[in-house]
């Protein structure tokens, strides 16, 4: 038994870790279950944990199987990290169509959480680009599925939180790319109406859109709207990869009531000086936090929560304003609060998080004020017809989950009884 924590570092319960290293010999390892697959451990709560039980670690399933340079179809094992695919394929003119805010996630994790990126309005979620999955079930059976092969099981597996079996191999459709350079623009804005106007205006011509907001500013919102699109033929300043590491966990959270307001004010002021159009490398634009390794340590030994919600656009303005007011009043919040619109697209999985509307994501250090704040935010989200993102969640009440993911009963039929996680027991009862 070894302690394992997820990205939120809310605890480090002991786990019995089983390493998977050969895609053809996974079935034999699944007999020791029930358990859950563990990739890079980047989900924030208990989706990738199974306290006191088995974790099947997929880091050793990181081989590429084949690539067709004519069609852009990549077959790889589920433990391959997205960053490795990007590094290899972008120089060859291909890229992953969808990557979340960090590249340090596995292909299997990206599917199991059906992650989205800053280009949701163009490319949808990760699951939309998966052509085939090879799933090993705990009874030893190996099943191939895809959008056109056992589509019901496929739809349950995409966003299925690892509960339909172990994903061992995947076929992905890559997108013909335009090289590593992006034409990026930063626009300072004030107020939610301004944010929505900018979002609407940008969706047609810009592939990536996202906003940083100052979460201490409440509904008198100020923020930086960032948008980018491939910089066809243009090359920016040479970019060298540099990453720093937070070297240790400070004894108290560095994000607190004292630091929050000065940091946000400073960040906003610096951001305003960067406004305008620039040609930038995709890595710092799309994955700004990846340059600070182990940034989750900044929240101290108690860890932190992330709260990511989506609410339909129709209710979006009012609901987002109410949430921002509640957060500003609480005095809690984070350096990086993110606001982004989602487009209307059919979901890739039964339990996919993205839906038409506007999504808000904030980190909160562990504090006594949180349960009350979260209860208030839950009420707003539920009343607006929205939902929370399980990949980020460590505390949503089961009733809220059941009410906001209506396809849960259909999903239950596809579960593998040998798969169980902290999250599945918390939200689904087993």
């Amino acid at each position: 038994m070894r302690p394992v924590s997820s990205w939120g570092r809310l605890g480090a319960p002991p786990h019995d870790i089983v390493e998977l290293t050969d895609r053809d010999r996974v079935a034999a390892s699944l007999r020791h279950g029930p358990g859950i697959a563990y990739g890079m451990g980047r989900s924030y709560g208990d989706a990738c944990l199974n306290p006191g039980g088995v974790l099947w670690r997929t880091a050793g399933l990181d081989r590429l199987v084949s690539f067709d340079g004519a069609t852009g179809r990549l077959v790889c094992e589920a433990g391959v990290v997205l960053r490795d695919i990007q590094k290899l394929m972008i120089p060859r003119g291909w890229s992953l169509p969808v990557v979340p805010g960090t590249q340090f996630v596995t292909v299997g994790g990206a599917i199991a959480n059906d992650v989205h990126g800053k280009n949701h309005h163009v490319a949808g979620s990760f699951g939309e680009h998966v052509r085939r999955l090879r799933l090993v079930r705990s009874d030893g059976e190996t099943i191939e599925c895809g959008p056109d092969l056992r589509p019901d099981l496929f739809a349950a597996t995409v966003a299925g939180l690892g509960l339909t079996g172990i994903i061992v191999q995947v076929e992905l459709q890559l997108r013909a790319g335009n090289g590593p350079w992006l034409e990026a623009e930063t626009i300072s804005f004030g107020g939610l109406a301004d944010f929505f106007a900018l979002s609407d205006e940008s969706e047609a011509g810009w592939e990536h859109t996202v906003s940083w907001i100052d979460c201490t500013s409440g509904s008198e919102l100020r923020g930086l709207f960032m948008r980018a699109r491939p910089a066809a033929g243009r090359i920016g300043r040479p970019w060298r990869e540099r990453s720093r590491r937070v070297p240790f966990t400070p004894p108290v959270s560095m994000v607190n009531r004292l630091s929050l307001r000065p940091f946000n004010t400073l960040y906003h002021a610096l951001g305003r000086r960067r406004t305008g159009v620039q040609v930038v490398h995709y890595e710092p634009f799309l994955y700004p936090l990846d340059s600070v390794l182990e940034w989750n340590r900044l929240y101290g030994p108690m860890g932190f929560f992330q709260y990511q919600s989506v609410v339909p656009r129709a209710a979006g303005l009012g609901a987002t304003r109410d949430m921002l007011d509640a957060i500003a009043r609480s005095g809690e919040g984070s350096f990086l609060a993110v606001l982004k619109t989602f487009a209307e697209r059919p979901p890739a999985g039964l339990l996919s998080f993205p839906r038409e509307g506007v999504t808000l994501a904030l980190d909160f250090r562990h504090s006594r004020a949180l349960p009350q704040l979260f209860a208030r935010l839950d009420d707003i989200v539920r009343a607006a017809g929205g939902r929370l993102y399980p990949a980020k969640d460590a505390r949503m009440p089961r009733a809220l989950y059941e009410a906001t993911y209506p396809d849960l009963p259909a999903f239950a039929a596809h579960r593998d009884p040998g798969m169980s996680s902290g999250m599945s027991r918390r939200l689904m009862g087993r």
């Binding site: 870790i17 590429l64 290899l88």
Partner: protein, 245 residues
């Protein structure tokens, strides 16, 4: 660049090959006991940029077969690097209790790597070029009760490499001895389960490939092991024998 890898399914070797595939588009000749796994690795390397891969029949102990293999590998085109990476972390207590196992460990971890090194050295000497890289271990720096069978094997490799470095000093042939600390690979799964801190294999591979490129005689990876082992080697025996390290 043509690279021959003995023990291609070793975690460190596989990650070194990934770097050579991506950065040099190398041609690979891979030898491994587990053919099914080696085939998966070969496919992976081709996607990552290897120009070609071929699997060699596994022959780890027969001197004539090893000589013939080296001969054939060189005949098919000059070999730039031979990475000798096969090995098996034998359990110390089992080696003490079972002499057959003890002998097997010595043959796999010490005798066999040396035979490959000599076989290729003969060809490299004639061509006056080529690099022989052998994976030793920090465990070879001093005998300890916890793993002296394995440690003695790695120590033998280290002394052998030292001798070859002397032999090829000033020539175009380079002998590189790699000394990784405990590394996160399938070989060390039991150590990991025991909660021991292990170096990431990607880092060890990066430093190994860089060391081979520069033809450095000795590479401690991660580098922190160099000062640690310097101290461990110099602890007086009367102190060392009281320690439980």
């Amino acid at each position: 660049m043509k690279i021959v890898v003995i023990g291609a399914t070793s975690g460190i070797a596989e990650h070194c090959c990934r770097l050579w595939a991506a950065e040099d588009g190398a041609d690979f000749v891979l030898m491994a006991r587990d053919t099914a796994k080696a085939e998966k690795i070969a496919a992976d390397l081709e996607v990552r940029g290897a120009r070609s891969t071929s699997l060699a029949k596994a022959e780890f102990f027969d001197p004539a077969a090893i000589e013939a293999f080296a001969e054939a590998a060189v005949a098919a085109g000059a070999v730039d690097v031979v990475l000798i990476a096969h090995g098996w972390l034998s359990d110390q207590q089992s080696c003490q209790d079972d002499l057959a196992l003890c002998r097997e460990s010595l043959e796999v971890n010490a005798v066999s790597p040396v035979l490959f090194a000599e076989a290729f050295a003969a060809h490299f000497a004639r061509a006056n070029r080529g690099t022989i890289a052998i994976i030793g271990s920090v465990a070879g720096d001093r005998g300890r009760k916890a793993n002296y069978t394995y440690g003695a094997c790695k120590g033998l490799i280290g002394r052998y490499a030292e001798g070859m470095q002397h032999r090829f000093a000033g020539s175009g042939v380079k002998i590189v001895l790699i000394k990784p600390g405990p590394t996160d690979t399938p070989m060390t799964a039991s150590q990991k389960a025991a909660g021991r801190k292990l170096a990431p294999v990607a880092q060890v591979a990066r430093e190994t490939v860089d060391g081979i490129r520069r033809g450095r005689p000795m590479v401690y990876t991660p580098l922190l092991w160099w000062p640690i082992m310097l101290i461990v080697r110099h602890i007086p025996r009367f102190v060392f024998n009281r320690l439980s390290i």
